[in-house]
Symmetry: C2
């Protein structure tokens, strides 16, 4: 995807300035959206609107509208002809596209301020940007206490990217008619519940840290499915023994929380206890498995959220590197399905 | 320049994601530059370098290098082929181009944090972003007390954009053989000194606020040119009488500190006292007078610095609108020279 430098020198120096002033462009786009300018231009359609019209229909003054519109022109968010401004396609997506809105809110409300110290985070191997919200080792225990906008935008982002693929992937998993499934890093129990709703016979065991298990147990009791979902509290990085009865070991956006060495260690332990014929099913977002460059860009950008805000050391991997880790841990790839939900990939593996 | 929407829907949704994650791209570019990754890749040239090589030659670990490189791929700053990374043209400009470096440092050190509250600044009409540096009404009295990096980057930016055009514009002004020149908003006296060095006969009078005059006086005494440069302390927005003896009224990046109404008011007062045959010479940066789109983009982005950090209400204008203000104040444009220095425009005007 990124093998060749396709830009001319002129395009490249232009792009360099777009990068140098990227924070201005980002904030302008956000303000054009949040002050109602884009919405008003959208409603005017091909008639367009003058600076005066737009100002009269917004909650900011003419100077404010004019600096936003001129930066909007440079950002290709709007166009202008004979004193009339028009919403451009980029503006349309900023206004109407859910993915774009979720991404933008996440960047502003969760990441923007903390990203200022990205270099510090990279050097420390810690999410030093998180200090803008308080003193926390990682973002996960902080979630319930983030400022309102940050919390809303975090959950909207998580929901948009995590849950979208469940419907699409269920048939692939249940094609194996598993009697027993381990949900490793089962988190809130959402996937375990979906499995039990999808299939009347499967029994699920959630493997996760004790504090996560406690949370998941509540959700599962509330859903009345305690008789079909069991729990096994375990630190996958520790050396406590693992159970080995599952037909399917399921890991959804779990391994992206770990470094390559940790991924190999975890998978090694799983390989050591898996029963013959059992399968490891991994669902992840990989930047080099995306159909569209926009998606690859988004994933690589989101990795820096992990660096700076989440935990300082996880990321979205490339499927190329990830498959190498699988191999090093003793697995061979049996099947790969790309583009499930919002660009998820399912990797189905067996032990060598 | 921005009359037509040239993007396809696919390009536009890609561009929308580039905007949505623009702060990540900006911080990545900065870190690739500041951690030495770009410099190392530049030195490797066409040989390229592996992730391992790059890590061994930087001051950050492999994880940190890998997230930067992958975002760098998406940002077209680097390319990758067969596990070897190469610096791309964008990366070359980020590393070697003075303008790009000055812009980027200015964005990070002066503007990045304050831009978070752009919407607040637009609504308040005040540079609310400045609060990250302390309690100041505008950035000008704060300059000497900004954090070291912010001060350095501010002056580097100011120097790069303000002084570049002086050499180029002097012959245009002295073609009129002025006996007397008023330097309105003369600031530190730099232009007045240049005039006296360029021409042995001209006498210059600096018109500015009393506190600026005090500063300029020191510089001019130090240069031994007090006998040729006079001072007239005045608030150009007030109603104290102005002197009217000058052959040339010079205003360099002065009017961009004011709103359209204020510009017209100031020019009206000047028109009222100018002697017959005198000329008004204005040097400004106009975004729509630029040869390259990168320059228009940079100026429109820099306007948001004025909004958010400098004073809350000034900006780089379009020459189209600016000429309209000249006309409303009673001036006709006699001559326009574009592309002086770093994209400056000289407007020479006479009274109607």
């Amino acid at each position: 995807m990124y093998e060749h430098d396709k830009l001319s020198a002129l395009d490249a120096i232009t792009e360099a300035q777009r990068i140098a002033f990227a924070p201005m462009l980002f904030q302008t786009a956000l303000c054009l959206r949040n002050t109602g300018v884009l919405d008003y231009l959208d409603k005017q359609g091909k008639r367009g609107a003058t600076l005066r019209d737009i100002t009269n229909n917004s909650n900011i003054n003419e100077y404010a509208v004019s600096v936003l519109l001129d930066m909007g022109l440079s950002g290709r968010i709007v166009t202008c002809k004979e004193d009339h401004y028009y919403i451009a396609k980029v503006g349309h997506f900023l206004l109407h596209d859910t993915m774009t809105r979720v991404n933008m809110d996440f960047t502003q409300d969760v990441c923007y301020q903390g990203l200022f110290s990205l270099e510090e985070a990279l050097k420390a191997g810690k999410p030093t940007g998180l200090k803008v919200f308080g003193e926390w080792p990682t973002i996960y225990p902080a979630l319930s206490q983030l400022p309102h906008a940050a919390r809303e935008s975090w959950f909207a982002f998580d929901h948009y990217y995590s849950d979208g693929a469940f419907d699409a992937v269920l048939p692939h998993i249940f094609a194996y008619q598993p009697g027993s499934l381990y949900d490793v890093g089962g988190n809130t129990g959402k996937w375990a519940l979906r499995c039990c709703q999808h299939d009347n016979d499967v029994s699920v065991t959630l493997l996760d840290l004790p504090q996560q298990i406690a949370l998941a147990r509540e959700n599962i009791e509330a859903a009345g499915l305690s008789h079909r979902i069991g729990f096994h509290a375990v630190d996958m990085l520790g050396d406590a023994p693992l159970p080995g009865e599952a037909d399917i070991w399921w890991m959804s956006q779990f391994l992206d929380c770990f470094s390559p060495e940790q991924i190999i260690a975890i998978l090694n332990r799983v390989a050591g206890v898996m029963k013959p014929g059992a399968r490891l099913c991994i669902m992840e977002l990989f930047w080099d498995a995306q159909k569209f460059e926009a998606a690859a860009f988004s994933l690589n950008a989101s990795s820096l959220y992990f660096t700076c805000m989440a935990n300082g050391n996880s990321r979205f991997y490339s499927v190329e590197k990830f498959c190498h880790y699988l191999e090093m841990a003793g697995f061979r790839l049996e099947k790969r399905v790309d583009n499930l939900g919002i660009g998820h990939t399912l990797l189905i593996c067996q032990k060598f």
